[in-house]
Amino acid sequence: MDLLIIYGIEVLNAIAVLIIMSLGLAVVFGMMKIVNMAHGEFMMLGGYSAILATNHLGVPIWIAMLVIAPLVVGVFGIVIERVIIRHLYGRMIDTMLATWGLSLALIGAATMVFGNTTLGISSPLPSVTVGSYSTSGYSLFTILFALCLVGALWLLLRYTTLGLCARATMQNARMAAALGTNPGKIYSLTFGLGAALSGLGGALLAPITGVIPTIGISFIAKAFITVIGGGSAIIAGTLSSSTLFGTISQLATYAWTPVFGAVALLLSAIVLLRLLPQGITGRFFRRSL
């Protein structure tokens, strides 16, 4: 029984990690139809911001992770949108190339500035004991935080003027502009929001994984699989595909090995996209956000 609870926590944690990894990408890809190849590197920047703020500026770790990292990467995202992305709207291949180049440049720059050693911070929460087993308290925090994050994003998109304008602009920019929004501003704010979410995700994962300049590569594949598996609805899609893939990969990891866990995740993604080419929300929950 104790073991079942621990396994349950680990499955929920795997789902939460997938959500945290892919929400930023989902906003940029789902709303703006931009394939952001530099998503992993945005996460890496978030991780570095949090760690450097904690280790060198003495900022409390929670503020560094939850405030500084998304702010830094969000602002960086807005700059990138103004300088590079805004020239390339509607040209998917070009944005892919541009963001891919950006990711290479960011890896190189981070290596030059921070070196190649893994940096890290210890998990800030004590362990939690369940019967004769124990697990990381940080896992519970990750699960709760992923829920809050999804909730907050939903409130933002559903009930604020900014959310309304953003959704309108993404559906039909000209019509939205005719009704008085400023599409350029909305685009850069949305891209900034996606970047901030990526940075936040990287910072939240930093205590678990540590940060090296190339860490983005181990996030990006899973993030893309989750977002594409989820389909066009940002929140419902990310939630449903994270739940599906997280559960499958973690159960396979328990039953066999981590290698099988990764294989099971890929296989289920292939099967899913064969059956539902538009992703889960292309077929179900179509009217959701």
Partner: protein
């Protein structure tokens, strides 16, 4: 599936960039005269493996400087040619050819991963250019043109397993990196545990980019082993120790490893995360002999704080230079065959790690092995085993009987 192609594209673009940039080798022309004996190093001084490559390069060049300061070899100065392979296998092949054909060096010291070694070894065989491999590795290379100055599993694993079992118990759970080093080391662990009357409950392999060990940690808890044996390697796998501590497992089930520390894990992790981990290696910076203390001082005087810790790999590189130089002195020549024959007559050098003797039959080294416990970013040495022979490679390799051998053997366990 644009995604899975991404890492491939990225890799090839990086290598294309590297090649296009053409990055000229750093040469030190300090001893640029016609008499100079040329020595090439091929190591990763940038890219993903530079954390290993930089201290190794520093150690080799320190040895060369010492030799030059003492008047060189055979009255001739050494000229170092340091190639940066940029963690890229293609560059290893290219630079090995260049060292052998263009530079006509007396010896090539280098290669870090087993993969890079197997790229340059056949090249140097073909062009008859003497090759020294400095890293601890999985054992089994049998090649007359090749000398290995690091340790092999039989030397470290077979000492640490009984030590850990005596201290903690007989039930062992192995977690290992999923590539040839992790696979082969865990096979040795299995053998050693059985030989000592213990039991390996599970061997679990992790791809090198796995960062989530939550499931593994709860599986370990339900298996209730006495010892966790770690053969995890690289930056991503450091998260295992973090998550292990975060799950409250530090001190509950102890960890032993023969690779921990090779990437400065004990410096990167906090004391709470790493204290109490048992390790075994040929070299640790804390070895208390005066020779070693003098070496550490010399190293830090030359390279300052850029090296947080002098690793086992750096020492392998350093003693590779010592051995080769001793071979040249004994042969009275830098001619490849004469040096090989001199080394095969049995050569012993005094290294900061202790006594190092070349084993004529395998071209590996008999050396000391130290067992230590991690304590506040330091290795506290608990026991030293002197003169450990490379008995694993000796099972499959006899260059006296079969001098034309050039294979790497998979040792059957």
């Amino acid at each position: 599936m644009a995604i899975s192609r991404r890492s491939f594209l990225q890799g090839s673009a990086l290598s294309a960039l590297g090649l296009a940039a053409g990055v000229a080798p750093k040469m030190s022309f300090a001893a640029d005269n016609k008499d100079a004996i040329k020595v090439a190093t091929i190591l990763d001084l940038s890219g993903g493996l530079d954390i290993y490559g930089k201290p190794m390069s520093n150690a080799i060049n320190l040895a060369a400087d010492d030799i030059n300061a003492a008047g060189g070899l055979l009255g001739r100065p050494l000229q170092m040619i340091n190639y940066d392979a940029q963690s890229n296998m293609q560059l290893y092949a290219q630079y090995a050819q260049q060292a052998a054909l263009k530079d006509k060096v007396a010896v090539v010291q280098g290669g870090i991963t087993s993969a890079s070694r197997e790229v340059i070894r056949p090249v140097l065989d073909r062009f008859r250019s003497l090759y020294f491999y400095p890293a601890q590795y999985e054992g089994g290379v049998c090649d007359r043109n090749y000398f290995s100055s690091g340790s092999t599993p039989a030397q470290t694993v077979e000492k640490l397993v009984p030590y850990a079992m005596k201290k903690w118990g007989k039930k062992i759970y192995v977690v290992a990196a999923d590539y040839n080093y992790g696979q082969i080391v865990s096979a040795w662990v299995k053998k050693s545990v059985h030989d000592n009357g213990g039991e390996v409950v599970t061997v679990e392999f992790f791809p090198l980019d796995v960062t989530d060990f939550g499931a593994a940690i709860s599986k370990i808890q339900s298996a209730k082993p006495d010892i966790v044996w770690s053969a995890l390697v690289g930056g991503a796998h450091i998260s295992f120790y973090r998550q292990w501590h975060a799950a409250g497992m530090s001190g509950k089930i102890p960890i032993a490893s023969t690779v921990f520390g090779g990437g400065n894990e004990h410096i990167i992790l906090s004391p709470e995360e790493s204290n109490g981990i048992l390790v075994a290696a040929n070299y640790m910076q804390e070895i208390p002999t005066p020779e070693n203390q003098a070496f550490v001082q010399k190293f830090h005087a030359k390279y300052g704080t850029s090296t947080p810790y002098i690793s086992d790999l750096a020492m392998g590189a350093y003693q590779g230079m010592l051995i080769w130089a001793e071979g040249v002195r004994k042969a009275g020549s830098v001619d490849r065959m004469k040096v090989i024959e001199a080394l095969e007559s049995g050569i012993t050098v005094a290294s900061p790690s202790g006594k190092v003797t070349v084993d004529p039959a395998t071209h590996h080294c008999t050396l000391d092995v130290h067992i230590a416990e991690v304590e506040n970013h330091q290795m506290k040495i608990l026991e030293t085993f002197t003169d450990q022979a490379p008995s694993d490679t000796a099972m499959v390799c006899d260059l006296k009987k079969n001098p034309r051998d050039t294979k790497q053997y998979q040792i059957e366990l």
